[in-house]
Symmetry: C2
């Protein structure tokens, strides 16, 4: 446990290109244990997790997500950024970028703070992954899983929704940060 903060900032990148190497389940479990240290509204800890550490299952979930997104788009052209349509129609495109592992972060729809609680847990997962030489990316396109069989496969309880599908794997490389603008500070009262 030696990565310093500067290195964490350098190495936490959205990774979409992975080595062909499985993530040991023990490591995923360690990462999830650390993520419980994330803050949550009133310490309610509403996050639940489903781990898919199997490329074939991940591919099937990608196919379902793509079909659902395109179905939705056919009914409502505002449901999706049109830039994604051709990509999603490409049979070879995997929304999870052929990652060896996906952690689905989910929770009850009744929790008003669910989005932010899951996002805070996600950030811990991202940093804990860096600490272990792993890379991650939050794949919003991968959250559209609604087939009852798929939901049963992931053991998603009724009344729950997926907030953050996080792909995890050993990165082929750590790219530089994509362009960032300066923080938009509207006011300073000092």
């Amino acid at each position: 446990m030696t990565t310093n903060y500067r290195d964490l900032l350098e190495k936490r990148r959205s990774i979409r290109d992975f080595q062909d190497q499985k993530v040991p389940l023990k490591v995923v479990e360690e990462i999830l244990r650390e993520s419980t240290l994330a803050p949550s509204a009133s310490n309610s800890q509403p996050c639940r997790f489903s781990i898919v550490n199997c490329k074939n299952t991940i591919k099937a979930l990608s196919d379902e997500s793509k079909a659902n997104l395109l179905d939705d788009y056919a009914k409502d052209k505002t449901s999706l950024n049109p830039a994604y349509v051709d990509v999603l129609k490409d049979k070879n495109f995997n929304v999870f970028y052929n990652a060896p592992c996906v952690i689905f972060i989910l929770g009850s729809k009744r929790v008003a703070s669910l989005d932010v609680d899951c996002a805070l847990a996600a950030s811990y997962i991202m940093f804990s992954a860096v600490e272990r030489g792993l890379g991650t990316c939050w794949i919003n396109l991968g959250s559209n899983i609604r087939d009852p069989q798929s939901r049963a496969l992931l053991a998603i309880p009724d009344g729950c929704r997926i907030v953050a599908p996080i792909i995890v794997g050993y990165p082929k490389a750590i790219p530089p940060a994509s362009e960032r603008h300066a923080p938009e500070i509207l006011r300073v009262i000092d």
Copy 2:
């Protein structure tokens, strides 16, 4: 820049008791610069910031938040956890815990991913603060600022909403983590 990840996990706590010491504005600006490295949906970087580094202003914003929360509660008993009502009626209670500094993270209501984007930036702010010996806490009760004068004071543009008011200061002590349950892992497919 030397805090290792294990120390970050130990020291990132929700801090509500601060030393009577101002946070140098330069440090707040460094923290916000680092927070731009947080991921955001499609790298849209929708977060904006308003910094209040003045205890008197913070006290006034606390008073407004409390009044608004109690007003809302009078009209709709489901708007607030009843446990907070007596606390909010206490004139001496400051929702920002007398912190010397508050960073308001906000953004356009039109951004569908605003909550998660701001939460990811908030987590970076929390870790960057630890790196500088500072403590933070996300104060959801402090987000109910709607008086036009207060919003003008914070330079909140029309159509924007506050997602995360983060208090910042030098902690009197770093408490142990409040109780956490084990990660709730619903399924492992390996």
